[in-house]
């Protein structure tokens, strides 16, 4: 049957990756109707929610796993996948298991994770540093230290797209990288406002202040434009999730020689396991319902997982697949995953409402002359009222 799938994977690497899903699904005799919506997940999600609540649901849709679809599930608009999960024994193959947990509500499975995305990467342009005559840094401190040289060479040290979520990403990475796992969990899991206003987080805000200084002059909007600056050597580096990998790949760059990736910003070797997942709205048409199950199976099959994640630059959700073809950076990520140094992503820990407020705070901080102290004060307040 024809199944419309909505998602916001429209950049070069993403589109190539999603094509793998479509290919595999079409091979089963069904037809993947592509419903890509450009302009970041924020635009797309509002449309998806409207359509589902409007009574005209698509066959399947992307969300970030976590709490974005919580209420839709609670309202009975999504179907559960318990039967398929049982048959395919996903419980044992999905790694880390926390991924499946975040798809569960009241003991039922409502979504399937399709990949693991980690946010904690610093991407560096080897060429930019060569031009500036300094060695490629190995961690955040070195990066900050190298910045003046980059600036002298007419480069922008840190490329940042002008969207709140990108800046929040930087902050969270610094929080986990410089502050460590416990601090991260205290703030986001326990929502401890005192800690959020405390000295440890103050250090993070200091670092964020540096990042702000280093990013002056990056006049781009979207994340992949920022990545393009790194690729072309106009900027020294970018803090961005592993999906940036896809852009380097599409541009034909080789990890290690053309660019360098530092997971956990080269500091603490932790990654968060956010990622994308697919939800399946409840449909009346039994034929389509069947197709939904087929799609779920196909997405999680080992072959598709490998093909998809190689293109996307993210990590597969199955522990049992072979990623020999993976490049340098991916292997670094896989290694951390193996070590079990994984944490829940903020998407799973805080509500979209809080996320939005956080994004606003960060974009304000980056755009204006707000002091680190003020920003922290507001951050603490935000964590206090977070849900």
């Amino acid at each position: 049957a024809d199944l419309e799938v909505t998602h916001w994977w429209t950049s070069g690497g993403e589109a190539a990756a999603v094509a793998e899903f479509a290919k595999a699904f079409d091979a089963t005799g069904n037809h993947w109707v592509d419903g890509a919506i450009a302009g970041s997940g924020e635009t797309a999600r509002s449309i998806m929610v409207s359509r589902i609540t409007g009574g005209d649901p698509m066959g399947a849709t992307q969300f970030n796993h976590g709490r974005q679809a919580e209420e839709l599930v609670a309202a009975g608009l999504m179907r559960d996948l318990d039967a398929v999960a049982e048959a395919q024994d996903w419980k044992s193959v999905i790694n880390p298991p926390s991924l499946l947990e975040s798809c569960m509500l009241d003991g039922h499975l409502y979504c399937i994770p399709v990949n693991i995305h980690s946010w904690q990467w610093l991407w560096l342009s080897n060429q930019a540093f060569a031009d500036a005559g300094v060695p490629v840094p190995a961690n955040w401190e070195e990066f900050v230290a190298a910045a003046p040289a980059l600036q002298k060479a007419g480069k922008i040290p840190l490329a940042v797209g002008q969207q709140g979520w990108q800046m929040t990403g930087i902050f969270n990475d610094l929080l986990l990288g410089l502050g460590g796992k416990d601090l991260y969990l205290k703030v986001y899991d326990e929502k401890d406002a005192e800690v959020a206003g405390g000295a440890d987080v103050a250090k993070v805000f200091k670092a964020l202040d540096d990042a702000r200084t280093l990013s002056k002059g990056s006049n781009v909007q979207s994340w992949n434009e920022a990545t393009a600056m790194v690729i072309s050597g106009k900027a020294g580096g970018q803090v961005m999730g592993d999906w940036a990998q896809g852009e380097f790949q599409v541009a034909g760059k080789v990890a290690g020689t053309d660019y360098t990736c530092l997971p956990g910003l080269g500091e603490a070797r932790y990654i968060t396991t956010g990622g994308d997942s697919f939800y399946f709205p409840a449909l009346d048409d039994p034929e389509k319902s069947k197709a939904q199950e087929v799609l779920a199976e196909v997405i999680l099959s080992p072959e598709t997982q490998v093909a998809f994640n190689l293109k996307k630059g993210s990590l597969p959700v199955r522990g049992d697949v072979d990623l020999a073809a993976a490049n340098d950076c991916m292997k670094k990520g896989l290694a951390i995953l193996k070590e079990g140094n994984v944490l829940k992503s903020t998407d799973e820990l805080i509500s979209p409402d809080t996320t939005t407020q956080l994004n606003d705070l960060m974009s304000e901080f980056f755009a204006e002359s707000m002091t680190a102290e003020d920003a922290q004060k507001r951050f603490a307040g935000l964590i206090e009222s977070a849900d």
Partner: protein, 297 residues
């Protein structure tokens, strides 16, 4: 009353009433109903889906303590005042110039009007590009030798609203000009002659005689312009997405994002209610003046 009394009043003009059903439905169900619905749900803690769990004024308290909302309001005020003033002034000036029996009037008018045919998305895109410091105006002028020339409104929090006004004016003044031109053409030729015979300079004639006479045009124009200002959204999204930071946020965007992105319908509805309230404050007295009297229509 006469012996064979009047037929039911309800059936008087029955066709007119039937034909007005779409309008009545739209007015009552969509605009009035939708507004009421929005107001009611603004007192709840609805998240992704609306639910009637009342929390009193909590959403409003939060709204008015959110810096982004305050910024949005300020921005709308800046944009509103600037674009009102400039679109009226420029629109009127252009109309006055075109009214001088010039040659190529059609050509000029078409040039001034064509941006109106484009969507805000397109307008935003083009101006974003022209104002882009690395490609656009700033780049060009620096290239011409003024190395220190800086005109980078879209990435400067203090100037960003002006950049948006610039694009908004480019798109909207053509229509205003058309309205004004129509108004000017509606003014009695004799008034001009009378003023000339009295030796009143042209500018004075415009200022003291013609402009005061164009009140109805100004009212219509005001309605159209204000409606556009309150709804300002696409242009901002296309040009700056609210950035840098939250420097170019506007209320409509706040509403949209809280309803759909932040999945906090209650907050979005509270913000909508505030917007509707301010609109009502403007529209209701106007409607009263316009239709309240015993004027025809």
């Amino acid at each position: 009353m006469s012996a064979d009394g009047p037929p039911g009043r309800l059936f008087k003009n029955i066709s007119a009433k039937i034909a007005s059903i779409p309008m009545i439905l739209t007015a009552v169900v969509v605009f009035l109903g939708g507004t009421l619905w929005t107001v009611i749900y603004s007192f709840t803690d609805s998240k992704l889906l609306p639910r009637l769990n009342f929390v009193g004024l909590a959403q409003y308290e939060r709204l008015w303590s959110t810096p982004r909302w305050i910024v949005s309001i300020e921005n709308l005020a800046i944009y509103g005042i600037l674009s009102l003033i400039f679109s009226f002034v420029i629109g009127f000036l252009l109309a006055a110039l075109l009214d001088q029996q010039i040659r190529f009037e059609n050509t000029f008018r078409t040039i001034f009007l064509y941006p109106f045919a484009l969507s805000f998305i397109v307008t935003g895109l083009v101006w974003q590009w022209i104002l882009n410091p690395d490609f656009g105006l700033q780049h060009i002028i620096r290239g011409l030798g003024w190395e220190n020339f800086t005109f980078n409104p879209l990435y400067d929090a203090r100037l960003v609203m002006f950049g948006i006004v610039l694009a908004g004016l480019w798109q909207g003044t053509g229509l205003i000009m058309c309205l004004m031109l129509a108004g000017l053409r509606g003014i009695d030729e004799d008034i001009w002659k009378a003023a000339r015979v009295e030796g009143i300079p042209t500018w004075k004639t415009y200022l003291f005689i013609v402009i005061p006479m164009m009140r109805p045009v100004f009212v219509t124009t005001l309605v159209i312009v204000m409606a556009g200002i309150v709804k300002l959204y696409d242009l901002v999204v296309a040009m700056t997405a609210g950035g840098p930071g939250t420097a170019s946020e506007v209320p409509a965007k706040y509403v949209y994002e809280f309803m759909f992105r932040a999945q906090n319908l209650g907050q979005g509805f509270a913000a909508s209610t505030m917007m509707l309230l301010s609109v009502a404050v403007v529209v209701i007295p106007w409607a009263y003046l316009e239709f309240g009297g015993k004027r025809r229509g």
